[in-house]
């Protein structure tokens, strides 16, 4: 088994600019240390229509209401920063915001994994002897010979599709054929309940326990820690 960079194409060139956008990196940094409710705030705002911050503050009383931490408290400051950055993403056009959201989930996954293990890489293909290589790269990989990992990242549960599951399972089986361990999984910036519903429908012939699912409530598990 070996890892290699994806072949550069037009899509990759355009997407690389988005991946390197300071707003993407800022969002990922904020969300890496956020609570589950703060991450949910980001998801709602980046999916929403309203650009009025007070509308969102009203919607999240546990973050901004009378019983929430007061302004100046680090938790409250992070809530405000997550809201402000998420509104900047929401303020982009529909297509751009969609690309930003995907890039944010990937960057967040990379950061969380790097807190636990490494080396962590992005957009890498995985090659196995005697097997045709998948054309599409894996979003995030951990390239440890004794404990490799391959993750696909999705903004919403709707992104879970049969071809994605197949590609992940293919990597797992390729590694097994070479007597190597590989953890393969999906990181979904959406509720576990919605993701499981989708997974059940899309799984098809992929074995039930072969693909690890990390949903919004469990993102800290990527970093080897319990949810904040």
């Amino acid at each position: 088994m070996r890892f290699m960079d994806a072949r550069p194409d037009g899509r990759a060139v355009v997407y690389a600019h988005i991946q390197a956008d300071p707003l993407v990196l800022r969002c990922a940094g904020l969300l890496a240390d956020a609570t589950t409710t703060q991450r949910l705030l980001a998801r709602a705002v980046m999916n929403g229509e309203s650009l009025d911050p007070d509308t969102w503050r009203t919607m999240f009383p546990t973050l901004f209401g009378p019983a929430a931490p007061a302004p100046g408290d680090p938790v409250r400051d992070r809530s405000e920063a997550v809201l402000e950055a998420s509104l900047q993403v929401a303020d982009r056009g529909d297509q751009t915001r969609s690309q930003f959201r995907g890039a944010i989930v990937e960057a967040l996954t990379e950061r969380l994994l790097a807190a636990r293990t490494g080396p962590v890489r992005r957009e890498r293909r995985i090659l196995f002897d005697g097997r045709p290589a998948e054309i599409h790269p894996y979003d995030v990989t951990v390239e440890r010979e004794d404990a490799a990992e391959a993750w696909d990242c999705k903004w919403g549960a709707r992104g879970i599709k049969a071809d994605v599951l197949h590609q992940l399972d293919d990597a797992r089986r390729g590694a097994a054929d070479e007597s190597l361990r590989m953890l393969v999984g999906l990181v979904v910036f959406d509720a576990r309940r919605s993701s499981e519903v989708r997974l059940v429908r899309e799984r098809g012939p992929v074995a039930a326990d072969s693909v690890r699912l990390i949903a919004l409530e469990g993102l800290d598990r990527l970093a080897g820690r319990k949810p904040a």
Partner: protein, 99 residues
Amino acid sequence: MPATIADLIDRAIAGCDVLTVTAEPVEDECQYVTDLGTVWRARLRAIATSRGSEPAPPGTDDAITALVEEAARIGDPHRAIDWLSTLPQVALAALEEPG
């Protein structure tokens, strides 16, 4: 008369109903939309069963109003599908309930 948690749950479910109608044009996701509605409505109704008679905690009445109004603003059917997952999560967070 102050709202109860059951009142808020009823409004959140009504918000889901609006989103379901908005999502209807995406025919190839009809099954997923149905599945989402089934699991999230069941989760919300479970709260109404266990805590329905409690008065709504401070801020939650306005939170659910803002949430349902936001759902009504969603005009894009694809985004409505995303919101069918988002709305119940936000409602649960407001009520300090796990997903």
